[in-house]
Structure formats: C-alpha cells, structure tokens
Subunit: 150 residues, 2 copies
C-alpha cells in the first residue's frame, strides 16, 4: 500500500506526474485483484457464518452480501493480465498457460454468484444455502488449481 | 495476504476451524478497506487518463468505470470499525474522534460518485468531466484530513 497514497493524492489533485503514473504499474494488477478478493472475503465470511448457524439467519443481510459478491465476481478476470505474476501474487503460472480453463472457472463463479444473489432475494432459506454451497464450490475449484498454497 | 489463502480455502471447503476464523480478525477491516480503495484506484486512473487527454475519450468505458466507483464508494464506511487502526493502516485516529465529519465526507464521495455515474450514462463529455472533478475533490477532502502521508 505504500504507493497508494501518493497515487490517490495525485489523481485527486489532478497533478499526476509521469513519475506517479509509472509508480503504480508494477504489481498494480496484483494489488487490485487481491483487493477484490479481500472484499469478497469480507462479505463471504458473514454469509458462511449464517449458513453454518454461527450467527442467526437473516435473509435480507444475506441477500445484500450475495449481491455484492456477484458484483465483485465480475471484476476479477481483468485483474489477471499477462505478465502480472509479480510481487506478492499467489497466482500459479498455469492461469496464463491454461487461460480458457481459468476463464471458464471464473465464469462458473460469476454464474453461481449471480444465481445465489437471485435466490437470496427470495424467501427460501434452504435454497439460498444450497446456492451458497454451489458458489463456494466454484471458489474451491479455482483455488485448488490456480492458487499457490504456500 | 498471507492469511487469505487459508481462510478462503476454509470457507470454500466448509471447514472453518476456530483457528482459521481467529486468523482473519486482526487487520481484516484494514485489508478490506485498502482492497476497496485499490479497486477504486484501478478504475479511477483510466478515468483520469481520459479526462486529461492521455487516452482517447470513451463515454461507454468511462460510464462503466464510474458505475463501479459509485458501487465501491458505498462499501467503504463499514471498513472503518472502531479499533481498526492497526497494522498497515494509513488512517488517522481523527476518523474515530471526528466520526460524524468523516461520515459526512464519505457521504459526499458517495453522492458525487453517484452523480458522476448518472452523468456518464449520458452523452455530455464536458459534464462528465466536471462530475469527475467534483468526485476527485471529495477524495482529496477526506485524504487531506484523515489519511497519513508517510
């Protein structure tokens, strides 16, 4: 995050210098996609807590978070441009050598999240929980193959 | 990000242990809000580039990114719970001692972003650029007072 304040200050102040622009390039995609994953996690954990009965079921709260996850799911793919296996990235190189498969798994996450968000807008708690389980499976499918464990 | 893989694996695998849950608590809000700021920046820089004439104006592209920024702007405030001035946070303590003012500045950012997204859906390039400038001012207003520079 060390570079972020300078860049935001520059953008906000309409004073982007060539230096500031250059400064955000290395690792920007990594910071971006990890940021989106953090935002997903922020919403996913409370949903999981409800599904597992750790916290009381709240359909409206679940629906709100499911809607967010669905939004975030559509933002991830552009965070993996070629050449972005740098810095603190946990991505495996296979993402870029098996791009169509990676893309298909991301699409599966998008589809499952959208379905979950739609189901959550209703009143069927069991169906919502089932949709959550399906979504979680799409997370795991991609992580198992394309994320480093170390 | 070191803790994220374990936690996501646990959530996705429906095998959250007490250890894994405990692991995500310290600094989670910091990682979350910095993630959302990174996602904003990812979209804000290309918008700024268009406004400044560094890249060709593309109303549809601008509108897409403005819509995202508007979405993200509504996710930030919950990322500043009391006690979350930890780890790599760049927040100043004044956020919590002047909460109503901080909240008002966040609201100004939300309002400006929403207005920018609405304007961007139209065809008025000059009005869109003006809405961008207003939004950037709301960023700066908050950063100047509540973000550490170091």
């Amino acid at each position: 995050m060390r570079r972020l304040p300078l860049v935001l200050a520059a953008v906000a102040g309409f004073a982007i210098s060539a230096v500031a622009l250059a400064a955000i390039k290395p690792g920007t995609a990594v910071a971006y996609r990890q940021g989106v994953y953090h935002a997903i996690l922020w919403n996913f954990v409370p949903m999981s807590d409800m599904v597992r009965g750790r916290t009381p079921w709240n359909q409206a709260e679940f629906a709100k978070r499911a809607e967010r996850v669905s939004f975030y799911s559509r933002q991830l793919l552009e965070g993996f441009p070629p050449g972005s296996l740098t810095g603190r990235s946990e991505a495996k190189p296979g993402i870029w050598t098996h791009w169509p498969d990676f893309e298909a798994r991301m699409q599966a996450f998008e589809n499952a999240s959208a379905a979950m968000a739609q189901t959550a807008r209703g009143t069927d708690e069991a169906a919502t929980k089932a949709a959550f389980a399906k979504t979680a499976e799409t997370c795991k499918s991609c992580h198992d193959k394309y994320r480093r464990d170390d």
